[in-house]
Amino acid sequence: MTIRNKAYIAGAFEHPTRLAPDKSTPQLHAECAAGVLADAGLSLQDVDGYFCAGDAPGFGGMSMIDYLGLKVRHTDSTETGGSSYILHVSHAAQAIAAGHCSVALITLAGRPRSEPFTRGRPGAPEEAFESWAGGTTHNSYGMCAARHMYEHGTTSEQLAWIKVAASTHAQYNPHAMLRDVVTVEDVLNSPMISDPLHRLDCCVVSDGGGALLVVAPEVAKSLKRPLVAVRGAGEAVKGPRGGMNLDLTTSAAAVSGPAAFAEAGCAPTDMKYASIYDSFTITVLIQLEDLGFCRKGEGGRFVADGNLISGTGKLPFNTDGGGLCNNHPMNRGGITKVIEAVRQLRGEAHPAVQVPNCDLAVATGIGGSLGVRHGAATLVLERQ
């Protein structure tokens, strides 16, 4: 059983807002749902599956299904942080392949700029042992970067190249929060947030959201949109597992990535474009290694000198500007990774960053905290 060619992404919508003081979070979900249906040329009545994660207010999917006015025969609210929506595409493809739905709607939205954002999971088994320690994403990912530097000689200059590439792309995105092109020196001269990560090693905080429609082949072929097939997928969850399996320089993408490529029957070298979740610069570097774009420890050299810049580098990445410059709605970047991959495969990215003849792309993400416990999901998508 495989999901290869069993489902297509027929709709992809990124909410244009980055600051939404006058809209509720459910309202943003609804606007994203309306946007993605318009993008695909489908209607509310066509939706028979709904997927959401922890950002959806209320009781699992039930509150949102009722609020949006959906009638579904399949729902899934798997929560793996910011990677959830990449994973939802895979789960939607599985449900479609099994005949449980034919038009699956995935939504994400939130307002971390406009209302207090709470982290922490009351009652988690690790809570009493860890919550006092002041762990945030910044210092958790900081520990991963510090260990990568220690083991492999990775430098802050190399990490900075990831931000330089993202900013080079973001200048063309009118919706991007940060549109100024920055240099390696700009990154190194920005304030230290948590060693060794500077402010410009960190993604933006934005209100907003996005939505995707994953549909059955016969639905996709009835629409007037380019065909973007789900060709392979993988997922994994990783943690320190009793403190005996701690490995800060390898992510769960070392499992999800190879699984996705195996199902797709292709290799990293076949990818014309890569959406790599960029909560921090180090997140990109570790995933590039784990997906097999380079060997473990060689990520620093791989990203240096503009290798991720569309048009000049070998691996164009995050051509919307990514989480580092464009958008990181609700502090969860997975959905925007899929959206920009779909734009590239459709040939709808900005002309300055569009990859010529982009027929194969990967979208991968990490959710949770890379240094503690996290989930990873990887998709290989194909223009047919």
């Binding site: 006092w132 910044h138 900081g142 520990m143 510090a146 304030p191 403190g243 005996m244 240094g371």
Partner: protein, 130 residues
């Protein structure tokens, strides 16, 4: 740059892990030990994460080395240093390094447990340069 020292939020033990914090109040660091598979683990839990047998909670010598660290430079309570310390018994512990000189800390450095008061709760196991 130095702000008020960070208030350590009181841990909220549950019925499974209350004994860890009772021991912490006596200056003892407990880790999990499984007699079925022979492996230790941290944080301790009722059933072994490697074989699901019931565990014993045993006293650690509280010594180890810094596996990685990151010093938070911004926001309330900064600077403070989040770290993984690998205990000599094997498990890695997510903790803080208690120091007035975070810039002197480095990966591989030897450290020892130091129980630190929390804000209205039991003390927590930080580590300090040995």
């Amino acid at each position: 740059m130095m702000s008020e020292p960070r208030k350590i939020p009181a841990p909220r033990p549950n019925v499974e892990n209350q004994r860890f914090f009772d021991a912490a109040a006596r200056g003892i660091l407990l880790i999990g030990q499984c007699d079925a598979c022979g492996r230790p683990h941290y944080y301790p839990r009722a059933l072994c994460p490697f074989c699901m047998a019931e565990t014993r909670w045993v006293e650690s010598a509280g010594k180890g080395e810094i596996h990685s660290l990151s010093t938070m430079r911004r926001g309330a309570g900064a600077p403070y240093t989040l770290a993984y310390v690998t205990l000599d018994e094997g498990p890695a512990v997510l903790t803080n390094i208690a120091t007035d000189d975070p810039d002197s800390l480095h990966i591989g450095q030897r450290v020892a447990v130091t129980f630190t008061p929390s804000d209205g709760g039991p003390p927590v196991p930080m580590f300090a340069p040995a």
